[in-house]
């Protein structure tokens, strides 16, 4: 079976013209010149040229795959080596959550943080935005961050607090010269200057920003984290047609993971919660619908349990489901103090964590 022309990445009106002129398969186009094609299928020269380029590209990839070296293909072993060498995680400063996530928020994946208002989604985002800049000699990735704020919830004062705490924490850890040198450039000012803040007011702005982002990322190769706080806000209002919303969200999800993969960044999004009513019962579930649930690679749910805050891994292809406790302090997102914890709770939480440490 040959490859049909309609499966090429061309505009649909060009495809209609091609098929109408009898060019059903790519093999029919392979030996034509642009002039012949533009005459035969009543296309402009420019369109004809694009068609032929698409066809030769397709033909080229045939050969590459034939030689066993198609660019996208790799064996799981190669991927494992790549994961071990290049792709690191961004620590959260909560050792329990890090342990549950196998070292922190992974680079090259998308992570969604869901939770009710006030439970700490934005705090976690701010914390990560600071943590991504921790120099490599302290176990960080020393990157920059693009922070897309759609809710207007980015509070600079909090970012300064968290950054100051992180800098203080690292300065206490200094042991060798390398770390001392790194500390010279790791200060609150540099932390703030490595944050690129984008304020988007509605979904059109958000989508436009994401379309332009790959260029920005190519220009700033040190960016290791993209935060979108939140995806839900712009998509939960101003939408009459839900189908359209689902389609846009699905496209957005693929865009994010493609970006995470090609630019080696971690993508962290936040999502609100909504209530699902099932007969007499109701249940809090993440917003944006069932379909969006597939979008993030990892889904974290932050929730209240009485006066405690819990973070649960709800979905992840490489971690077991587990729940950890955390707190929000002036310094940011932290583990709960040992002494603060009620004694009865203690053993179980401990077990949970050790079981989750994969």
């Amino acid at each position: 079976m040959q490859r049909p022309v309609s499966s090429l990445s061309l505009s649909s009106c060009v495809k209609v013209k091609l098929v109408g002129a009898g060019f059903q398969f790519t093999a029919d186009l392979r030996h034509l010149s642009p002039q012949q094609l533009s005459k035969g299928a009543s296309l402009t020269q420019q369109e004809a040229l694009e068609v032929l380029q698409a066809v030769t590209r397709e033909g080229g990839s045939d050969k590459a795959a034939g030689a066993g070296g198609s660019s996208a293909s790799m064996t799981a072993l190669e991927l494992l080596q790549k994961e071990e060498e290049e792709l690191r995680s961004i620590v959260t400063f909560s050792s329990r959550l890090d342990a549950a996530l196998g070292g922190g928020v992974p680079i090259g994946k998308t992570t969604e943080v869901c939770g009710a208002p006030g439970v700490g989604k934005t705090q976690l985002c701010l914390q990560l935005a600071v943590d991504v800049q921790v120099p490599p000699c302290f176990g960080g990735v020393g990157g920059q961050v693009v922070y897309i704020d759609t809710e207007g919830s980015f509070v600079l004062q909090r970012a300064v607090d968290i950054a100051a705490a992180a800098v203080r924490h690292c300065s206490l850890l200094v042991e060798d010269d390398e770390q001392r040198v790194a500390m010279e450039t790791f200060s609150v000012d540099t932390v703030l200057s490595n944050m690129f803040l984008v304020r988007c007011h509605d979904y059109v702005e958000l989508l436009a920003e994401l379309h332009l982002l790959p260029d920005f990322l190519s220009a700033h190769p040190r960016v290791r984290l993209l935060v979108i706080d939140s995806v839900a806000a712009p998509f939960r209002r101003l939408f009459d047609e839900l189908l359209q919303r689902t389609r846009l969200l699905n496209g957005l999800a693929q865009q994010l993971i493609a970006m995470a993969n090609s630019h080696e960044i971690a993508v962290v999004t936040t999502n609100q919660m909504t209530t699902r009513v099932l007969g007499a019962q109701s249940q809090l579930i993440p917003a944006l619908g069932e379909n969006w649930g597939h979008a993030p690679t990892i889904r974290l749910i932050l929730q209240w349990a009485g006066s405690q805050r819990l973070a649960a891994i709800f979905k992840s292809p490489c971690h077991v489901d587990s729940t950890v406790q955390y707190q929000i302090t002036t310094e940011g997102f932290r583990d709960i103090d040992q002494s603060d914890q009620p004694q009865s709770k203690r053993p179980r939480m401990h077990n949970d964590q050790s079981a989750a440490g994969v």
Binding site: G68, A72, L77, A258, E290, C318, T323, A355
Partner: protein, 331 residues
């Protein structure tokens, strides 16, 4: 609709193609459906020559009947049943994934679709020593998880590495690169198969809905066309190369009833469909790793059969793990 070209069949030379074109006969379809006698006059070519060309072209574009006995013979010699490595799923699938067919797993977020895919990939590469092509469209695949599953199987580092080498990964995030990949796989699959040793026995696409769903909905008809393209190439690939194709799909929920996504037209594509769901224990604080699988379409087994299995114990690991014990304690 194939364009007439010189050399397509004996007797069809450049002059004739030009004459035919002048008579407004551009494609094979035009030639076959036009009146041969009339055309012979218009192009001043003998009726007999044109008739011969017509016959050859028809023969080239037709399908041949195959006798049932031959087909059965071929089926017996070429079809393999690949165990998924999970006895509950094997039971539902009538002992495993059949080559030459498309099997679909659908389920909500976190229902274990990807885990089942990993498990199948590991089982085929490690136990059956065959190559697997894994097309990841959601970024969910991590080699570390595959290694973890392999470690549960064997402690021999070399065997683990060998098994990993038999899993070929493609990471694609839009439908056109998926199509590019599938078409190039079809042309270059046999050569590629020999790379890691063992032939390619399974192609896993996790997930097929992630790339197609952004195109559906609204007033666009192109999405439908591309979906049928994907379905077509997967089907022919499964048949022509005798591989088992495993795809994953999301679910849609209409008034608490859960059904696989991608609509009615996709429903015909997979031969076997399985719906995965979490088993929610009432009032359980910690979430269990138990999943239920329901057969919703099959040509072999009675449908709506449900089996439960534990994601934690995918790979025949001995005894319940620490995590399991913990959960039993909790619930």
């Amino acid at each position: 609709m194939v364009v007439l070209r010189e050399g397509m069949c004996p007797g069809l030379d450049a002059d004739l193609v030009r004459d035919l074109r002048a008579a407004d006969v551009k494609t094979v379809e035009d030639l076959v459906s036009s009146d041969t006698e009339d055309l012979a006059q218009k192009c001043s070519v003998s009726y007999r020559a044109l008739f011969a060309i017509r016959r050859v072209l028809l023969a080239q574009h037709t399908a041949f009947p195959v006798s049932g006995a031959d087909l059965y013979e071929e089926l017996l010699s070429s079809t393999a049943i690949l165990s998924t490595g999970n006895s509950s799923l094997d039971k539902l699938l009538d002992s495993g994934l059949y080559t030459g067919e498309i099997t679909e797993l659908s389920g909500g977020p976190g229902s274990g679709k990807s885990q089942v895919c990993f498990g199948v990939a590991v089982n085929i590469s490690y136990h059956l020593k065959q190559s697997v092509i894994f097309i990841d469209t959601t970024g969910g695949l991590t080699a570390r998880r595959l290694l973890q599953m392999l470690e549960a199987e064997t402690s021999n580092r070399e065997e683990q590495m060998e098994a990993l080498q038999r899993i070929h990964i493609f990471r694609l995030f839009d439908v056109f690169s998926l199509l590019d990949c599938l078409y190039s796989l079809r042309t270059g699959m046999l050569q590629q198969a020999s790379v890691g040793g063992g032939s390619v026995k399974a192609v896993i696409v996790d997930s097929v809905s992630a790339v197609i769903a952004p195109l559906l909905g609204g007033k666009q008809s192109e999405g439908m066309s591309l979906m049928t393209q994907v379905a077509g190439v997967l089907k022919t690939m499964a048949k022509d190369f005798n591989v088992a194709v495993l795809v994953t799909n999301h679910v849609t929920r209409s008034s608490s009833r859960v059904q696989p996504g991608l609509g009615v037209s996709w429903r015909h594509v997979p031969r076997t469909r399985i719906l995965l769901e979490r088993v929610e224990k009432a009032a359980a604080v910690s979430r269990s790793s138990m999943r239920s699988a329901t057969l919703i379409k099959s040509s072999r087994q009675l449908c709506h059969k449900t089996e439960e299995f534990d994601l934690q114990r995918w790979c025949h690991s001995e005894g319940p793990s620490a995590k399991r014990k913990l959960e039993d304690m909790d619930s």
